[in-house]
């Protein structure tokens, strides 16, 4: 048999560590993909106990599941499909990322049960979601009109970094600054109680680029104990591992053991032959059994 154990105390330690790094910026914790495979609800509660004050859910159904579990903090969802239920999201006060006028119009058409809190996204170079520089003024203008009509609240202006290099991140940050300025010129308040949250950084920039932290950092991978950098590992950042995978030894022969764990349990077939002791696992992950080398140091 094999067993995957999640360590919530280690996770809480990581969240507290990251929240202290980000302060005075606030900490939003990413619990997408079932909290990176750790199980969403216990992890979400642990994150809030440890210093996060909002949650990143990726998509509306996950956000609604968090609400159904009684979690009341702001929850952010930003990847929407053709069938996304914006009406339910608005009724449950889910903050919605908005990348295009089309998306904004679908949301404003769903506001009969409340005012939608929207975070307008500018694409600063990743070329995934987000309005292009050319599309940005029209998106902001439409959002201001929807705000004035009482349908939405502009709760945030945001983007996401490519982590390509410090120079690329700096260029993206400059792009973000220009987008904020454009939004301000068009009428989005950049001071006062109605000022939207500005957010750009995830784990990598949240740790290393203080100028990218703005009002909040969306921490993901680092909270789960994994370094976002190539030049330092999780422990090197003061982070603890949040999972332990154990497997029973089924047989031993010629210095090699066959373990009761394999590709069907999620071990990548290519994890074989890794030199690091902590990573050494399978030399042939297939089906349920694999044979790691137990003789390497």
């Amino acid at each position: 048999m094999s067993e995957l154990r999640v360590h919530l105390p280690a996770f809480r330690h990581n969240v507290a560590t990251l929240a202290a790094i980000a302060a005075p910026a606030r900490t939003m914790l990413a619990v997408k993909a079932e909290a990176y495979g750790h199980e969403m609800l216990p992890v979400a509660r642990a994150a809030l106990e440890a210093g996060a004050d909002s949650l990143a859910a990726l998509e509306v159904p996950a956000a609604l599941a968090l609400r159904d579990a009684g979690i009341r903090v702001p929850i952010f969802a930003w990847l929407h499909g053709a069938d996304t239920d914006f009406r339910a999201a608005i009724a449950q006060r889910v903050d919605l990322g908005v990348s295009s006028r089309e998306e904004l119009h679908r949301i404003t058409a769903s506001t009969d049960e409340g005012v939608a809190a929207v975070h307008l996204k500018i694409d600063t170079g990743l070329h995934r979601n987000g309005a292009s520089v050319e599309q940005w003024p029209a998106l902001v203008t439409d959002a201001l009109a929807a705000r004035d009509a009482g349908r939405i609240r502009i709760a945030g202006l945001w983007s996401h970094l490519a982590d390509a290099s410090p120079e690329a991140d700096a260029a993206a940050r400059a792009e973000f600054e220009r987008a904020i300025a454009v939004a301000g010129e068009l009428g989005v308040p950049l001071e006062g109680p109605d000022r939207p949250l500005l957010h750009l950084a995830a784990s990598s920039a949240g740790i290393r680029e203080p100028e990218a932290r703005y009002d909040l950092v969306r921490f993901g991978i680092a909270a789960y104990g994994v370094s976002p950098f190539d030049d330092v590992d999780g422990p090197g950042l003061g982070l603890r591992g949040t999972m332990t995978l154990r497997a029973e030894v089924l047989a031993v022969a010629d210095g090699r053991a066959v373990l009761d764990v394999g590709a069907a349990d999620g071990l990548p077939p290519r994890c074989s032959g890794r030199p690091e002791p902590a990573q050494r696992s399978c030399s042939a992950a297939a089906g349920h059994a694999c044979s790691p080398s137990t003789s390497t140091p």
Binding site: E59, D83, S99, L126, H127, S132, A164, A264, H288
Partner: protein, 207 residues
């Protein structure tokens, strides 16, 4: 957001009849096809014994009227599950995996795509954002290598695959948000074959 693994029960039944075996390797929830679907069908076509991974799967198989073997067998004893699930290159593939085109975006030449900017566009083009990623089992090794299908036409996956999204280059194609993007399926229906690129590598294979 749609993410779909479609199981073709007719193809599965035809493959099982063709395999003409008394025992089916149905470990790991029938190679991810869903033992609750596969077990009754296997019984209907005359298979009497299922090999399963867990006690819970054993109960599912027994409820469908099977003799059950739990656990592992040496490779020589295991019948060819590749035939049953249509991943032997000859039989009809049983599973089709698809996601949704979330958005399209026109970009100039030289635009970096996804984390690390491992891809830059060589011409003005259109990019498509697909709502699938490694959290859905799409191996990151498919980054800058895999090809996906929309309405039978193939498009290259560009840039790094992220946890819940990746980007394809659509060029001049007239496709729109909401379109179904097929990762792998039956080549006879215009879908990419499972073995054609890295996205198929998480699919069942013969042990």
């Amino acid at each position: 957001m749609r993410r779909r693994a479609l199981i073709d029960l007719e193809a599965l039944a035809a493959n099982l009849r063709d395999a003409d075996a008394d025992l089916l390797d149905a470990r790991a929830d029938a190679y991810g096809h869903g033992l609750a679907l596969v077990a009754p069908l296997a019984r209907d076509v005359g298979i009497g014994t299922l090999l399963v991974s867990t006690e819970r799967d054993a109960a599912t198989a027994a409820a469908a009227g099977h003799e059950v073997v739990i656990g592992r067998m040496s490779a020589a004893e295991i019948p060819d599950a590749a035939i049953a699930f249509g991943v032997d290159g000859t039989h009809r593939p049983v599973m089709t995996v698809s996601g949704e085109l979330i958005a399209t975006k026109h970009v100039p030449a030289g635009a970096g795509v996804s984390y690390g900017y491992t891809f830059r566009t060589s011409r003005p083009t259109t990019l498509g954002l697909v709502g699938l990623g490694y959290a859905d089992g799409i191996p990151r090794l498919g980054s800058n290598r895999a090809h996906l299908a929309i309405d039978g036409a193939r498009y290259p996956l560009v840039g790094r695959i992220a946890m819940d999204q990746f980007v394809i280059e659509l060029g001049d194609a007239e496709v729109h948000a909401g379109a179904e993007v097929v990762v792998f399926g039956d080549p006879a229906e215009g879908h990419p074959p499972r073995a054609s690129g890295p996205p198929g590598q998480n699919a069942p294979r013969s042990p």
